[in-house]
């Protein structure tokens, strides 16, 4: 793949020198225009593109979102996985989930994953790697859970295939060449008491550890009382700098939420509200 990039660059250089020869001729403008077009096309095919990602999580990821052809690993949270899938699925990508028989379909639908574009292979058995590669050929986002450690050569082959196809792989569990590892800690459920109420919302700290740079973490609602993902202290669609949004921020539903009134997180939110409104 890297060689491809260099080859592309050499071709590009070759074209500029050819264009220099043509300098002054009446077709100069045409050549310039063509070069610009080639450059824009190269930018889309050779650079890593990010795919639409849920804003609450995109901020934490290296590069500001899920990248095409990259691998991410998610630890111990199905909801975090669904938060990752929600963005691409809502934007029209097909998602495949391999080797996760306990994937909660109803939760997935509530969190914004389009079931019409979701394919499950609950029991790939011994052939999980082949199945993952075959599905990554055709679907945009692929989730897999390796039943055992994959050999380095097969991981490298799969990574090459992902880059070639532009598919994003999300692995449940550790993975040797992952772009970033997402984990969840300090879950705090609200709405439930000692024999009363029911689970209604959760705050948790999501930590993203990437190969380069310090780990980034944020406190997220996973999910909030309306089954949305958002950062604690932000509202469903944070539109900074939009006065209309700011004035309409106080959501009546939040103000009437009984269980959160006595929580520090809510107080923090209220302060934020106050600031935003003022």
């Amino acid at each position: 793949m890297a060689i491809d990039i260099f080859e592309g660059m050499f071709e590009y250089e070759g074209m500029t020198s050819a264009a220099a020869v043509l300098d002054g001729s009446p077709t100069r403008a045409t050549v310039d225009e063509l070069q610009a077009r080639i450059r824009s096309m190269q930018a889309t095919t050779l650079d890593t593109r990010t795919i639409p990602t849920h804003p609450a999580i995109a901020r934490l990821l290296p590069g500001g979102g899920l990248k095409e052809g990259a691998t991410y690993s998610v630890e111990n949270s199905a909801v975090l996985l669904m938060a990752l899938l929600a963005g691409p699925s809502a934007a029209g990508s097909w998602c495949g989930v391999i080797g996760v028989p306990e994937f909660g379909v109803e939760a997935a639908e509530h969190f914004g994953i389009d079931l019409g574009r979701l394919v499950l292979v609950p029991h790939p058995g011994e052939q999980w790697l082949d199945v993952t590669a075959a599905i990554a050929d055709v679907l945009g986002v692929v989730v897999t859970r390796p039943p055992k450690r994959a050999s380095d050569s097969s991981v490298a082959r799969l990574s090459a295939r992902l880059r070639q196809r532009g598919a994003t792989l999300i692995v449940l569990g550790p993975w040797p060449q992952s772009e970033a590892m997402l984990s969840l800690s300090d879950s705090h459920w609200s709405g439930i008491g000692q024999g009363s109420g029911h689970l209604s919302a959760r705050q948790a700290t999501v930590t993203v550890t990437s190969r380069m740079g310090r780990p980034r973490s944020a406190r997220l609602w996973l999910p909030d009382p309306h089954e949305q993902f958002r950062e604690v202290g932000r509202f469903a669609q944070p539109e900074a700098g939009s006065p209309h949004e700011a004035s309409s921020l106080p959501e009546p539903a939040n103000l009437h939420e009984p269980a959160y009134l006595h929580e520090p997180a809510y107080l923090h939110e209220a302060a934020y509200l106050h600031e935003a409104a003022g």
Binding site: G104, V131, V138, S200
Partner: protein
């Protein structure tokens, strides 16, 4: 009101022979019963002559009844109870339209041997163009006699023939109450023949009611009205039935086209006992099967595969395809059926069969014109690619291994997720309003839904502070306060918060499937939340909120 063929000059009515077998549904049912041998005394006797009062029921009302039942006062449209009250010995069967059609098939074959080009009006009634047979047999009456002979030879007695201008008049000529079995209405004599008949025969219930209230009781009276008045008042539909009443039924007789046999059969002698041998042996005929379809300008969207084994088992299954079958797809389906039919000795991924396969037959169940399935130059590529990729995975792992999901109706989490194999049709809701997941389902879990739903509930344990297992009495009262729980059988975790019990009492009216269980939500000290179920004193972990 449609105004398509307004007052188009009708072409001259065609001389038509209509053959009518009275009480055909009864005849068909009797023949079917006779074939089964369930009508004890009828063996060896002519089925139609069996004098058992019989009624066929459709939607709770009598659809057809035998002559003996009719003589007891049973009529079409009676409720079952009323019919049984009038005729206590009445035998009641469900009406089966498919049986009707199926039983008429040999009759139709016999007719087509006598004279070509029969059109089925409905099972028991068919129309034939009169001109050819009349010339061949030397007269219309002669032709009719030949037709009746052919039916009598099949053991169908009491059939009648009417010959007239157009199928409408001919049918009513066949049905006219008279001793002779043949009624010929001379050319041009239709309106005279129909004049005395009631307007109800037109088959337009609303129109007939209205005509009766207007004082028009017979077809003759109706025919005397001016066509322009009819069009002004009743539109195109009125003009059409007015022409019928005039005896100007211009509908042509369209002979049925016998559908081509497109199925493909391979017999194996000696029987094969390996899946790869069978699929290899079937490959060539799968190619032929698709070729045949293509030659008929058809594509196949669903096939039925029948596999006969040496031990006499028949495995039969219908396979759907989201687009259309190719030869490789057909071979794949045969393999999956062999893998899934349970005839495999030992492991499900093995290739040995417990008993040899003697015959494989593929029947196209639904076909479509090939033009509807031609790929466009652009625009269809993406989904096509996905389908091919997923089909490849299916051929690696089996048909049911790749699924799409939908949220269904139910109270337990597993009930609420329905998985459909890729390519199969999802269970479609009858109406948008009655989507099962949109129904209220009292007792279902509050949102948010758990992200992890175990395929099979895992055994769990909940104890109170003293270490005694928590249980629920019959009134739904807990025996103690839950203090610690375990879901893996090894480690006990303290309970930080909990809620419940929420009792779900499902299908209590049915002892076999009833289920009474109580659900709890439990959060441990580390913030992980679980959905636990207490089902007849045993704890299970059903899902995890993670």
């Amino acid at each position: 009101m449609r105004r398509t063929s307004s007052l188009a000059p009708p072409s001259a009515p065609m001389r038509t022979i209509v053959l009518w077998c009275p009480d055909w549904p009864i005849t068909a049912a009797l023949r079917a019963l006779d074939a089964l041998g369930t009508l004890g005394d009828s063996t060896g006797r002519d089925p139609a002559a069996v004098d058992t009062p019989l009624a066929l029921i459709d939607a709770g009302r009598v659809f057809a009844c035998s002559a003996s039942a009719r003589s007891e006062g049973v009529r079409r449209g009676h409720r079952v109870r009323e019919a049984q009250a009038r005729c206590p010995g009445l035998q009641v069967l469900d009406y089966d339209q498919a049986l009707d059609i199926r039983a008429f098939e040999p009759v139709l074959d016999a007719i087509e041997e006598t004279m070509p080009g029969a059109q089925v009006v409905r099972p028991g009634t068919c129309a034939v163009r009169a001109r050819g047979p009349a010339r061949y047999y030397g007269g219309e009456e002669e032709a009719a006699l030949w037709l009746l002979d052919a039916l009598d030879a099949l053991g169908i007695h009491g059939s009648r023939v009417g010959i007239a201008d157009g199928p409408f008049t001919a049918e009513h000529a066949a049905r006219s109450p008279q001793r002779q079995r043949i009624r010929i209405v001379p050319e041009g004599g239709s309106s005279e023949f129909l004049a005395g008949m009631p307007v109800g025969l037109l088959g337009e219930h609303a129109l007939a009611t209205l005509l009766r209230r207007l004082g028009i009781r017979t077809l003759g009276e109706f025919a005397q009205l001016h066509p322009q008045d009819i069009e002004a008042r009743f539109g195109d539909e009125g003009v059409r039935v007015h022409a019928l009443a005039l005896g100007l039924d211009s509908r042509p007789v369209v002979p049925r086209v016998v559908p081509e046999e497109l199925d493909s059969v391979v017999g194996f002698e000696p029987p094969l006992d390996r899946i790869d041998q069978v699929t290899f042996g079937f490959r060539a005929s799968a190619d032929r099967f698709i070729e045949q379809l293509v030659r008929a300008r058809l594509v196949c969207t669903s096939i039925r595969i029948e596999v006969d084994s040496e031990s006499g088992e028949l495995s039969e299954r219908t396979w759907l395809h989201p687009r259309s079958f190719t030869a490789a797809d057909v071979v794949d389906r045969v393999r999956w059926q062999l893998q899934g039919s349970g005839s495999i000795a030992g492991n499900p991924f093995g290739s040995g069969l417990s008993s040899g396969i003697t015959r494989v037959r593929v029947v196209p169940e639904s076909v479509d014109a090939i033009g509807n399935h031609e790929q466009g130059l652009w625009g269809t590529g993406h989904d096509e690619r996905i389908h091919h990729g997923l089909s490849r995975v299916q051929s690696m792992l089996g048909h049911g291994a790749v699924v799409t999901a939908a949220v269904g109706g139910g109270r337990t989490l597993l009930d609420r997720q329905s998985l459909v194999a890729w390519g199969d049709r999802a269970e479609t809701a009858r109406t948008e309003r009655a989507r099962p997941d949109m129904l209220p389902w009292p007792g279902q879990l509050p949102t948010p839904s758990p992200g992890t739903v175990f395929e099979a509930p895992r055994p769990a344990m909940v104890i109170d502070a003293a270490g005694v297992a928590i249980d629920l009495d019959l009134r739904g009262v807990l025996s103690g306060t839950p203090a610690r729980f375990s879901t893996d059988g090894r480690t006990l975790r303290p309970i930080g918060a909990w809620a419940g019990p929420w009792t779900v009492d499902e299908r209590w009216w049915d002892a076999d499937t009833s289920r009474r269980a109580s659900r709890f939500q439990v959060v441990d000290d580390a913030g992980a939340a679980w959905l636990l179920v207490l089902d007849s004193h045993l704890w299970w972990a059903e899902a995890r909120y993670d």
